[in-house]
Symmetry: C2
Subunit: 366 residues, 2 copies
């Protein structure tokens, strides 16, 4: 199919304080008219990383001919999502004399988005922010919801803010340059949306995973749009994660423990989430909430997406439990998990026999 | 007078998103019933510093017998208001396993309040926050308005957030232990409220400065209440500093340049603000906006409060201008200053002859 036929999709992320548009389409980096209405001042700082900048930075700069544009290129990888690197970003902003009127643009994946967004939330107590996510994970996850953060050696995403962008531009053409491992990592979050609240989308993914993996533009646009639609509905209902938003963390308490325990950057976020999602399914089955056939469908779809369904052997069960106990979802000392009561039906609970959790962790080591 | 006769004052800080009570009185650290209604979980982390903790930490812990209480004692001084020390605070929270249900209590002056508030804004993307300010400066300034921040080597308060406390408890009895230099530094901000919008209060200060300096409880309560009332009115009108809130920065563009240029901690904030206030008055007079008699009244009141009215000789005029140019109030490259059109009448402007600003800076070096 030719990309000319692909529509530009526009989602409105509806929030109490502020709504913003999310544009999804193929080739949007060539369309400055989508971006510039959301830049209020004359100053722009583009934040990217060493992988993405050589590919796309010049094109984004070209969209901003009428602005004073600064750039910062961060090292690439989750292990650099730290307060120290954030401080370098603040130094760059100050050294280049950017005022409180600057708009910060994140051009890159989740790490660039999380750090740029948090920098925007804090620089001079808050400046406008725009996201141009260039990984599948960032397009389907961090582009909606306003969660920004850096990691701490003692826990992932422990330091951050809820901070909404002015707009998000998800150009699926940028996914063409994504390596296979990163692409699969993004699929983990796409599958998640089907699992927690959209059984029909899960069915679609089973039928269309091959097209997605081949990066068929129409399949990509559909998957990104449907994922973002799901996330936008959840976030609109619960911006600050007091309730249903917790569903979005399916697999994340397990996954964050893997990421923290193995050292940030060793496992990709999406890989850890995939293993964590399988663990959640396994535990749900042990609790009698999920039939074995559904566990197998989940395992099969994750595997088709070339994702891991087991955690690392290097992390002992006790260490996993210890790491899970510092998760943000812990309340009054109890580990709260997002589990499944069917495909498309998530629930949050701390009501489970710890022995079953141990059995899952034991079972799910590589 | 006996302290029994002193009333408990309660101010409501009215904000769009959230309002909170500010209690002012003598001996409030003995009144847990004021504090505990604003702590929603069972976990509390008290942040203090090496000066205040030995004096008051035990009493605050005693107010919280029914909670799991952690404590962190930071080094004392503006030079420690950094991202690095903030990171230590995050480490303490994580090491002591505090969850997203923790309430952070700031017990100390402006530095403790600014850092604790910013930590509360960022820890796990935001946890509740209570302030118990123990310096005059913190009671009249940082207890209202929700500004939190840390400094950057390239600029003061450049990294922070607007984050409102659940409540503020200003116990004027804690001012008894404040050293004279710190006490005077607080008076600088008290005088500011008179200058920017409350001529009657300025007149009162001229008549009652001796009682204030003697730390007469009734005079203190009145000065704190009237200062906070002024600030609360301004902040309620303009929470995110788009307009009149900028008035609160009278003397601050000059003052921040002094603090940054001399190295944080060398001049106290209030001392730098006092010198900056005089500079603003001097420039206002050069512009023909303020009569010489009013400049003299301002100089005389600042001096009576044992505050400096000149900047440090060590900072050359060019260096001051350079430092002032990175201030948060700079817009499109112009230095915007809060100036006076009379006692009780502030205005914000970038419409002044730069030669007059230079003349003021030259005139006002020690």
């Amino acid at each position: 199919m030719t990309t000319d036929n692909l529509q530009l999709k526009k989602l409105n992320v509806a929030l109490a304080e502020r709504s913003y548009p999310l544009y999804i389409g193929h080739g949007l980096l060539g369309r400055p008219e989508l971006l510039t209405p959301y830049i209020s001042g004359r100053e722009v700082m583009i934040v990217s990383n060493t992988t993405v900048a050589p590919l796309y930075l010049e094109r984004v700069v070209a969209m901003l001919a009428d602005y004073r544009v600064g750039t910062v290129v961060l090292p690439d990888g989750e292990q650099y999502k730290t307060l120290a690197v954030l401080d370098d970003l603040f130094s760059a902003l100050l050294e280049q004399r950017f005022s409180r009127q600057v708009t910060i643009i994140a051009l890159g994946g989740g790490v660039v988005g999380d750090m740029s967004g948090f920098a925007a939330a804090c620089y001079q107590r808050g400046v406008p922010f725009v996201q141009i996510p260039t990984t599948l994970l960032a397009q389907v996850d961090s582009s909606v919801g306003g969660k920004t953060a850096v990691n701490h050696p003692l826990g992932k995403n422990m330091i951050g803010a809820f901070y909404q962008p002015r707009c998000v531009i998800a150009d699926t053409a940028t996914l063409d340059t994504l390596d296979d491992r990163q692409f699969s990592a993004g699929i983990a979050e796409v599958i998640k949306y089907g699992l927690i609240r959209d059984r029909e989308f899960f069915d679609w993914l089973e039928l269309n995973m091959a097209a997605l993996l081949a990066r068929d533009p129409a399949a990509l646009i559909y998957a990104v749009e449907r994922s973002c639609q799901n996330k936008a509905e959840v976030v609109a209902e619960d911006e600050h994660e007091q309730g249903v938003r917790a569903w979005l963390n399916l697999g994340h308490t397990f996954g964050h423990a893997i990421e923290t325990g193995m050292g940030y950057g060793e496992w990709l976020h999406g890989e850890a989430i995939a293993a964590g999602t399988y663990m959640a399914a396994d535990l749900s089955a042990r609790l009698g909430w999920l039939v074995q056939g559904d566990v197998e469908r989940i395992e099969s779809l994750l595997k088709q997406a070339r994702l891991p369904v087991r955690g690392p052997k290097a992390l002992a069960v006790e260490r996993m439990l210890e790491l899970m106990a510092v998760d943000k979802k812990v309340q009054d000392g109890s580990i709260r998990l997002v589990l499944l009561q069917g495909i498309g039906a998530a629930t949050v609970t701390d009501q489970f026999d710890p022995a079953l959790l141990r059995a899952t962790l034991e079972q799910c080591r590589t």
